[in-house]
Amino acid sequence: MAIGHSSESPTATGLSLSRAGARPKRARKPLSDNAYGYLFLAPWLIGLLVFLAGPTLVSLYLSFTDFNLLQPPKWVGAQNYITLFTRDPRYMQALRVTFTYVFTAAPLNLIFALLLALLLNSRIRGIGFYRAVYYIPSLLGGSVAIAILWQQIFGLDGVVSQILGFFGVHGSSWVSSPKQALWTLVILHVWQFGSAMIIFLAGLKQIPGELYEAATIDGAGKVHRFWFITLPMLTPVIFFNLVLQIINSFQAFTPAFIISGGKGGPLDSTLFYTLYVYIQGFTNFRMGYASAMGWILLIIIGVFTALAFLSSKYWVHYDDAR
């Protein structure tokens, strides 16, 4: 702006007087856009440095040390990583539990979300009511209260054993059975499909109706229309939901902590990754070890997110033609 103004001024002699009058006003605006940009950004930049990027790098350093918060960190090279992968069966168990959880809970959650979104997308009465009812669990689901409720529902005398009792299945407490405890957590996650459903509903509204009209004229039935219009048009939203689900469900903590009393039991069957980080870092105060686990989690999430992005060009349909 300033350059444009000065190059103009020699020719615009007739206006020089009024221009001179305007000059003091201009002088009060000494900051360039560059300076303003960084001024506005300053809080975020400090936050990035102190709370996000800085700690991420520090934890990389700590992951190569022994550190218990009291003595200064002691460099041990790759020892933490070697121990994790070769001599820590609990870590392997944590990986197994977390992967089982992510790759059952996340897809099931999305399938329910999509099914309900499709049902609600047809012009049906009372959509507001249904949407609210199906959404409420995902609003409350992350809380301690719901985790406690879940523990009781799937406990020894809980609702689930009672209902199964009616059908002659006399099970024990799901929460204290090593085989079933993880599934109570999967069910808890699937129960919270509401927010993904809302994203799907928004996506369904974006699909132009002419596509359906044209297909119907061409004689496409319901199944064909779903398979060849709805699903392809929805793939960007499915993709978006998938990435969100991966990132979120790898980091699940509260329900596993509450249901297992902070220990990941019974028999480490609910030892979520994040729970094991917490146990090592803040119960055993092996902070270097916990940092190594944190970094591996970062890499795992990064790899799966990258995989989702890389694979997206083969199955995600972006409507560039429009």
């Binding site: 936050g47 520090v58 309900l116 109706g209 990132i247 902590f257």
Partner: protein, 286 residues
């Protein structure tokens, strides 16, 4: 509207069937909550013997017994603490995220694209990567067992989701308003406070709602930093019922868990549209 073309021809019967499926589904979804609410009014002996969530009488004993814990601390303290932390987090997010969002949306500065990409990248950063160094920082500052570690980071825009939300919103505000203000001699700060902030209302409301829900439901960082009962929040207070599992206190426990959901339910009741919009446009996790 054009989508209606395909739904008009649906038989009433299939409509009925859809309603049936949806109603059964709705019942299954709500049953756990109804059971908990019902249990909060039942005597301990009835809770695990009856599936019917409707209590025989509206007995508030459980609520009175649950409010004050055996140790003398009461939920008055827990709710007060929770709301203090939430208020701090909300103010922090509103101030810091809107500043950053305005810079990203409207000001051309060097490396803007790079910083924006980094900002989006932090959305993916798991909390468990940064938690150990953060703990070390707050511990060395002597901030453990205070609310500061839960509130101070919010004043530095660590929740990138809200920056993103506000950037999207600011881009929708007509730039002519700012150009006019600039001609009138406003600088960037004046434009921000006099034009952008008033128009940013809806995005600020969405930020407030989600910050409240996330902070109120948060457990991990509160567990990490708050260690004495007088600093406990509602999330941590509820956990005390599980530690004292020796005697049966199911009724009071369900009374307090039920009560703890009320603030979030109220937010939902009043701001349902904003919540739904926030999720639909940015994928904020509800």
């Amino acid at each position: 509207m054009a989508t209606n073309a395909r739904t008009v021809r649906v038989f009433p019967f299939s409509q009925l069937l859809t309603h049936l499926v949806l109603l059964v589904g709705a019942f299954c979804m709500l049953y756990p909550l109804l059971w908990m609410i019902g249990s909060s009014f039942k005597p301990d002996s009835e809770i695990f013997t009856e599936l019917n969530p409707i209590p025989r009488s509206l007995d508030l004993t459980n609520y009175i017994r649950g409010w004050v814990l055996g140790t003398g601390t009461s939920f008055t303290t827990f709710y007060f603490n929770s709301f203090v932390v939430c208020a701090g987090a909300i103010i922090g997010n509103l101030l810091s995220c809107s500043l950053a969002a305005y810079a990203f949306a409207r000001i051309r500065f060097r490396l803007r694209g790079m910083w924006f990409a980094i900002m989006l990248g932090t959305l993916m950063l798991p909390f468990h990567v940064t938690v150990v160094p953060q703990y070390i920082i707050f511990n060395s500052l002597g901030w453990t067992n205070t609310f500061l570690p839960l509130v101070v980071p919010k004043f530095f825009a660590v929740d990138a989701f809200f920056i993103f939300l506000m950037v999207q919103f600011i881009r929708g505000i007509p730039i002519e308003l700012e150009q006019a203000a600039m001609v009138d001699g406003c600088n960037r700060f004046q434009i921000f406070t006099k034009i952008i902030m008033p128009l940013l209302g809806p995005a600020l409301v969405t930020t407030t709602i989600f910050t409240f829900i996330w902070t109120y439901n948060d457990f991990f960082s509160q567990l990490l930093y708050l260690s004495t009962e007088n600093h406990y929040t509602v999330s941590l207070g509820l956990r005390l019922f599980l530690d004292a599992s020796g005697q049966s206190a199911w009724g009071p426990m369900f009374a307090m868990t039920t009560l703890s959901l009320v603030p979030v339910i109220l937010v939902f009741a009043f701001f349902q549209r904003r919540l739904v919009e926030g999720i639909a446009t940015t994928g904020l996790k509800g």
